[in-house]
Symmetry: C2
Subunit: 391 residues, 2 copies
DNA sequence: AGTCAGGATGGTAACGCTACCATTGAAACG
DNA sequence: CGTTTCAATGGTAGCGTTACCATCCTGACT
C-alpha cells in the first residue's frame, strides 16, 4: 500500500506536435489549435505566422489525440447485403470520403436479410461500439434488419430505398420521376411497343420505377387519345439471369417490342445479350435502357442508355447526416424530435462536365442520353440549440 | 503574466470507461486493460470478474484514447486508379476489415497514372498524414506513382502486380502458374485449337499469364511430339471493348478456335457476347475462360470458367504488411533491411466449401472448374529487435 | 528457513489535443 | 475620463487508455 516512487519517464517521441509549432511560431498551443481548426478569433498576422510554422515543420495534427479531446472519432456501421459490387464500391468510396472528413471510422458488416443473420450482424456492430448505421439496398428494405437496429436504438440512415419508412433519415433519388423521364425519352424516339422488366418485388424502388413508367405511358395515351397498346411487362429480380428469362419471353412475342426498359443495368445487359443471340442489332432493331445503380454497366455495354445514380455522393451525404445526428444526440438535443421530410436537390454534376461526358460517350457509342434525376434528402429538422418549449 | 485561477471542471461524461469497469470488478484500471487486451499476466479468477463487469456495463474501449496512448491509429493511403469497380469493392472490403482490426484509418485517393496526377495525389496523401500506401492495379505498374511515393519515403505495399519490383513489399497471386493450370485444364478437355487474348501491355501480369499459357502448350507439344498448331493470339487491353475486337478477329479465322483464354473476365465476357452474336453456343461450340479480378463476371455469365483471385484477402494481407512495416519503423527497426521474398500459400477457401461451391455451380451452369492459384506474399524479413551489427 | 524467480497487480505519468475559462488590451461608449 | 465590450490570446485540466516501472506475493530451490 505504500506509494511507488515516481520515476523519470522516457516514452519515445515521434512526430511533431502542436507544441513544436507553437514554440516556433512564438504563440501558445491553443492559438495553433485555433488556427488549425479555423477559429475566427485569431489575428491575421498570428495566423500567418502559425501557418508558416506548420508548413515548415510539416505538422499535421494527431487524429487520435484530437478525437480523444473533442470526443469524436465515433464508429459508424455499414450493413451491406448482396448488392452489385459496382454499387458497393462506389458507395464505399463516397462513404469513406465523408468518414475521413469527419474523422469517423467506418465498420463494415455483411448481413443476409434473414432475421437470424441480421440479429447477429447488429450484435457484432454493437460489440464494435458503432453509434449509427448506414443501410444501403437491398438491406434497407429488410424489416428484420430495421427491427434489430431499432431495438438497439441505433440511428440509421437509409440509402436509395424507393419508399423509405416515415420518420426516418434517408437519402435517395426519385425513382418514380426518373423512370417517368426515361420513358418519356423512349416515347420521344417514336417507340410504340414498349416493354418493361420489373425489379425485385421486395424492393420498393421496383414498384416506383414501374409506376413512373406507366405514368409516362398514360400521359402519352391522353395526348394521342387512346392509340397506345398496353405495355408488356415481365417480372425480374435485378439479376442478369432473371433479365435473360424476361428478355426471352418478351422477344418471343409477336410483334416483339421495339424498346425494353429494364429496371436495372444487370437486366438490361441481359436483354442485350439475348437480343444479340437472336440476331437483333442493338440499338438499331431494339432500344434497351436500364436503370442504374452502377457505372460499370454503361462501360461494358456501350449501347446502353441508363439512369445514373450519384451513388458516391449519396453515400457521403448519408454519412454526413448520420454524423450530424449522432453528434446532435451527444450534444443533448432531443433524441428524436418530430422527424419530417425535407426534399432537396443535390446537384449531381456540373452541367458542363455532364454535357461533355455525354458528348464523349455519344461520339464513342452512338446515341446516348443520360437523365439526372433529383436526389431527395430526408432529414430530421434541426433541433433548436436549447429545447425551447414553444414552436 | 499572472496565473489563471484553476477552476472546477465540468466536461460532460458520456460512455462507460475502463475505470467504471475497474470499480465494479474491484481491480485497478490496469488490470482491466490487461484483460481487454489479452495479456497473459492475469489470473483466471480476476479475468472472469473483469469480463463479467465488462459485459454488465457494456464496456467497449475508447478507440481514440487507446490509439493515443499506444501511439497507433495511423492513416494508410489507398491510391486507386481505374480498376474494375468489382475489383475495387472487394479490395475495399478486405482492406477495411484489416484496417478496423488494426485500429488504422484508410484514406482513399483517386489517381490517374500520369506524372502530374500522381504527384498531386501523393501530395494530398501526405497532407492527410498517411504513413503508408497501398497500390492495387493498375497503379502498381505506374513508374510515376512509384517514384513519387518513393520520394516521399512512404512505405508501399503492391498488390497483384505480375512482376513486382525487387526489394518491395507485395501481395500477389502467381499469374504464371494460374494461367498454366488453366491452360492444362483446357487441353485436358481435348481442345486443340486454342486462342489467347492478352491483357494490357503496360501491366506485367499480362505477360505472366501469356507465358503461363505458352508453357502449358509447350508441355503438351513435348508429350505429343509436335502435333499442336501454334496458338492464335490477339492483343487486348482488359476492357470489354478490346475483348470484343479481339474476339471478332479470332472467331473470323478458319478454322476458328474451339477455346479462347481471355486474360481477364471483362474480355471473356466480350468473347461470349460476340460468340453468341455469331450464333455459336457457349460452351458447346466454344469454350471461353477468363482470368478474374472480379467475382461479378462469373455471376453474370454463368458459363464462364475463370481463375479467381481472393482479392479481399489479398487486400487485408496487404494492410497487415503495411501496418507491420510502419510500426516496425516506428519501433526503431532498421528502415529497410535487406528485403527478400518469402513465397507463401494463403488458403483461399476451405477445401470443403470450395468443392461444394463448385458442385453447386456445376449443377446450375454445366461444366465449371475453378482453379485456386497460390498467393505469393513478399515481405521484408523481420528485423531483429535491436539492430545488432552482425548478420 | 532463507533466498530467489517470476506471476499478478497497482500507481503514475504521459499520449497530443481541445474545452473551458481567465486575462489582457484596445476600441467604443456614455 | 471611467466604463463597457469584445477580439485576441493564454493557462490549466482533463479526454480514456496504455507504457513503464514498482511492489507484493506465492512457491521453488538452495
Amino acid at each position: 500500500m505504500s506509494k511507488p516512487v515516481p520515476r523519470a519517464r522516457s516514452r519515445l517521441r515521434a512526430g511533431v506536435t502542436i507544441k513544436d509549432v507553437a514554440r516556433l511560431a512564438g504563440v501558445s498551443p491553443m492559438t495553433v489549435s485555433r488556427v488549425v481548426n479555423g477559429s475566427e478569433y485569431v489575428s491575421n498576422t498570428t495566423r500567418a505566422a502559425v501557418q508558416r510554422a506548420v508548413r515548415e515543420l510539416h505538422y499535421s495534427p494527431n487524429l487520435a489525440a484530437r478525437n480523444l479531446a473533442s470526443e469524436r472519432g465515433e464508429r459508424l456501421g455499414l450493413l451491406y447485403g448482396n448488392p452489385s459490387s459496382a454499387y458497393l464500391s462506389e458507395f464505399l468510396v463516397g462513404a469513406l470520403e465523408a468518414a475521413t472528413r469527419h474523422g469517423v471510422q467506418l465498420v463494415l458488416e455483411k448481413c443476409e436479410p434473414t432475421p437470424v443473420a441480421s440479429r447477429r450482424a447488429v450484435r457484432r456492430l454493437l460489440a464494435g461500439a458503432v453509434v449509427g448505421a448506414l443501410l444501403p439496398p437491398p438491406l434497407c428494405e429488410s424489416a428484420a434488419v430495421r427491427a434489430e437496429l431499432g431495438a438497439a436504438r441505433l440511428p440509421v440512415v437509409t440509402v436509395a430505398a424507393g419508399r423509405p419508412p416515415a420518420e426516418s433519415m434517408c437519402v435517395r433519388i426519385d425513382d418514380y420521376a426518373a423512370a417517368l423521364e426515361m420513358t418519356r425519352y423512349l416515347l420521344s424516339l417514336g417507340h410504340e411497343r414498349l416493354a418493361f422488366i420489373k425489379g425485385h418485388p421486395n424492393q420498393s424502388a421496383s414498384e416506383e420505377r414501374w409506376l413512373g413508367f406507366n405514368a409516362a405511358l398514360e400521359e402519352a395515351a391522353r395526348g394521342k387519345r387512346g392509340g397506345q397498346p398496353a405495355p408488356r411487362m415481365e417480372q425480374g429480380f435485378f439479376s442478369f439471369r432473371s433479365g435473360l428469362d424476361a428478355a426471352r419471353k418478351l422477344l418471343a412475342a409477336h410483334p416483339a417490342p421495339t424498346a425494353i426498359f429494364a429496371s436495372n443495368d444487370d437486366m438490361a445487359a441481359a436483354v442485350i445479350a439475348e437480343a444479340q443471340r437472336r440476331g437483333l442489332d442493338v440499338p438499331r432493331d431494339l432500344t434497351v435502357v436500364g436503370f442504374d445503380d452502377t457505372l460499370i454497366a454503361s462501360t461494358i455495354w456501350p449501347e446502353l442508355t441508363t439512369i445514373q445514380q450519384p451513388i458516391a455522393r449519396m453515400a457521403a451525404e448519408a454519412v454526413d447526416m448520420l454524423v450530424a445526428e449522432v453528434r446532435g444526440r451527444a450534444a443533448g438535443e432531443r433524441p428524436r424530435p418530430d422527424a419530417r421530410r425535407v426534399p432537396g436537390v443535390l446537384p449531381t454534376r456540373a452541367a458542363g462536365s455532364q454535357a461533355s461526358a455525354a458528348a464523349t460517350d455519344a461520339q464513342r457509342n452512338g446515341p446516348l442520353h443520360r437523365l439526372i434525376p433529383h436526389v431527395l434528402i430526408t432529414r430530421e429538422s434541426a433541433a433548436a440549440p436549447k429545447p425551447a418549449r414553444q414552436t
